[in-house]
């Protein structure tokens, strides 16, 4: 495939990797400003798809559109082939789509474990909301497992607001995972992390793929190129290229818009 053809032909899912999340012609404008304009791509099941682009490219707005935070003015979002465009975040979560936030968005005045327990509560039957917390065994087990996996066990009873920045970023991802989604949107998970933490988080995201379809916004290009199966490049609200990391890196248009030369 040439770089030019990447821009026009949508990627068809490879065999065995059906499209888990489909975005077609997605658009929104805020008072005349076209924040996202006709963006379309497909995220293959079990793979990591990254969205990159310079600041103001519309990446976070794209996430907000997909996750139901903002209603699109045009286009479609499909989850496993089902049209979920314009659904509210809670209904999207029920359909299997979860997200994390670029700016840490936790329950800062609640304990770490309680953050995870609340996030895992949707695994329980609705009437468990009226039974003692101890009866929500699945949610509690899930919360414990996530504490373990994210190295937060020692901080379980600490208030989320008292964690270090790196720990809060980890908790942010753990909370998004607690509902056992099939599609996970991660908005700059390594934002503000140290170099070592970034590498750890990268390994963690890699380990998530397989069971999970990951859509990632990330500024660390090295991390994106090493992690992703597929990269979508945005600039000024539009998709300017997509393809496997190596192809995207070689794309002249991408270099011009993003890497600042070429």
């Amino acid at each position: 495939m040439t770089a030019a053809s990447l821009k026009t032909t949508p990627i068809t899912a490879t065999a065995g990797n059906a499209c888990a999340l489909g975005v077609r012609d997605l658009s929104v404008n805020f008072g005349g400003l076209q924040a996202v304009a006709g963006v379309g791509f497909e995220a293959a099941a079990g793979r990591i798809t990254s969205v990159i682009g310079p600041n103001g490219a519309g990446k976070s707005t794209l996430f907000n559109l997909i996750s139901g935070a903002i209603r699109p003015t045009g286009g479609r979002v499909t989850l496993d082939g089902v049209d979920v465009t314009g659904r509210s975040p809670d209904r999207l979560l029920a359909a299997g789509l979860a997200r994390s936030f670029q700016i840490t968005n936790l329950f800062f005045e609640l304990p770490v474990l309680e953050n995870l327990r609340i996030a895992a509560q949707v695994l329980e039957r609705p009437w468990h909301a009226l039974r003692p917390v101890g009866h929500s065994r699945r949610a509690l087990a899930k919360a414990d497992a996530l504490l373990e996996r994210f190295g937060l066990s020692a901080k379980a009873r600490e208030l989320a607001g008292n964690l270090s920045h790196g720990e809060q970023r980890r908790l942010e991802i753990a909370v998004a995972l607690a509902a056992e989604p099939r599609v996970l949107l991660l908005d700059e998970p390594t934002q503000g992390m140290s170099h070592g933490d970034t590498a750890d988080t990268g390994a963690l995201i890699r380990s998530l793929a397989g069971d999970l379809t990951v859509l990632l916004i990330e500024h660390d290009i090295g991390l994106v190129m090493s992690l992703s199966d597929h990269v979508v490049v945005m600039a000024q609200g539009r998709k300017i290229a997509e393809g496997p990391p190596a192809v995207v890196r070689a794309d002249l248009a991408v270099q011009a818009a993003y890497f600042g030369h070429g």
Binding site: S88, F101, Q121, P132, N162, V175
Partner: protein, 347 residues
């Protein structure tokens, strides 16, 4: 440390599993238990000395404690300031009075009718009020209650500014036994029992995942939908619940006083409930009960010296807002935990 502690952690012993839950009663519940013993002791003394006046005063304090608890459900647990909770209290009182006077002198029928009316009005009011957030929520609840209060005040069929008088005293049947609302001790014990039941039931609910989701809404409402919860439905549910609690408390009022008046719906009543919650301890449920008794006692004592008790209450209220963010109960618990867990390292 006390500043950083959240409302939830006062009643939440961390993440105790079912086993440790049984063996450990949260400190706030100990406070409630001590309160109950004290209330029974008070009843015994008042009965022995034949003092019906103070029993009736205490009963009234408990009735208004029910209203304050309903404010606490919204303010302390969900972060919603209602300035119009008297709407549901007054509604319960009027419905109860009408049932007792015109339908049948049945305690249970009056309570059921008040519950139904409170629930339905709460549903309507909740749909209206939950369209907005923050101070706008406070103002819209205030406006709703004003519309209702002024309407009642102008409605001749409801006695207009005079209210309804001549509500009969009734017998309350519990299977084979029954008690008389005219007897100060019996009615005090009945209202005490209902208050304790309400406290226990609401505490349970607020510690169940339902109530903890409300705490999540209070802490960070924007994140809640992304965890699969419909925040609007939760807020509506707790609003209806609070309306029901307020209506049930209100339903007891005409049984005690034999009349209802539009003042029960006015802003003074709503405002007093908010004061009670803040002074007693927001987000504790037992705080509103203790606050109501404390303030009633205070008004009665100060009132015997001067009619200007509002200055005293106002000063206490403002001091609580500034210095005691968790009110009386918070201060007591902080003292208890400092003594009990002196060795524990603060987070």
């Amino acid at each position: 440390m006390p500043e950083a502690t959240t409302l939830r952690t006062l009643s939440d012993p961390g993440h105790a599993g079912p086993a440790s839950r049984l063996s450990r009663l949260a400190p706030v519940h100990w406070l409630a238990l001590i309160f109950l013993v004290a209330a029974l002791g008070f009843a015994a003394v008042a009965w022995a000395t034949g003092n019906g006046f103070y029993l009736r005063l205490a009963t009234e304090a408990l009735i208004f404690a029910g209203l304050a608890m309903s404010v606490d459900l919204l303010l302390g647990y969900t972060g919603l300031l209602s300035l119009g909770q008297a709407l549901y209290f007054g509604l319960g009182a009027y419905v109860s009075a009408l049932v007792l006077r015109d339908v049948a002198p049945s305690f249970w029928l009056a309570m059921a009718a008040a519950l139904l009316a409170g629930g339905m009005a709460g549903l309507i009011g909740g749909v209206i009020a939950n369209r907005v957030k923050g101070v706008y929520f406070a103002l819209i609840t205030f406006g709703l209650a004003q519309v209702a209060a002024k309407t009642v005040y102008n409605t001749r069929a409801l006695g207009a500014s005079d209210g309804l008088i001549g509500i009969p005293q009734i017998r309350v049947g519990f299977g084979p036994v029954s008690l008389d609302t005219a007897d100060p001790l019996s009615f005090f014990l009945l209202v005490l029992g209902l208050t304790v039941t309400a406290y226990a039931g609401l505490s349970y609910l607020m510690d169940a995942p339902f109530g903890r989701t409300l705490a999540a809404i209070r802490a960070n409402e924007k994140r809640v939908p992304f965890l699969g919860f419909n925040a609007w439905r939760y807020k509506l549910a707790v609003y209806v619940l609070a309306a029901c609690v307020a209506a049930l408390a209100g339903a007891l009022y005409p049984m005690l006083r034999g009349f209802v008046s539009p003042e029960l719906m006015f802003f003074e009543t709503s405002g007093n409930a908010v004061i009670t919650v803040i002074v007693g301890g927001v987000g504790t449920l037992v705080g509103p009960v203790m606050g109501s008794l404390l303030l009633t006692a205070l008004r009665s004592v100060v009132g015997s010296w001067t009619e200007h008790h509002l200055i005293v209450v106002g000063v206490i209220f403002m001091l609580s807002v500034i210095f005691l963010r968790k009110g009386l109960v918070g201060a007591l618990l902080a003292r208890l935990s400092r003594r009990g867990e002196a060795g524990r390292t603060a987070p």
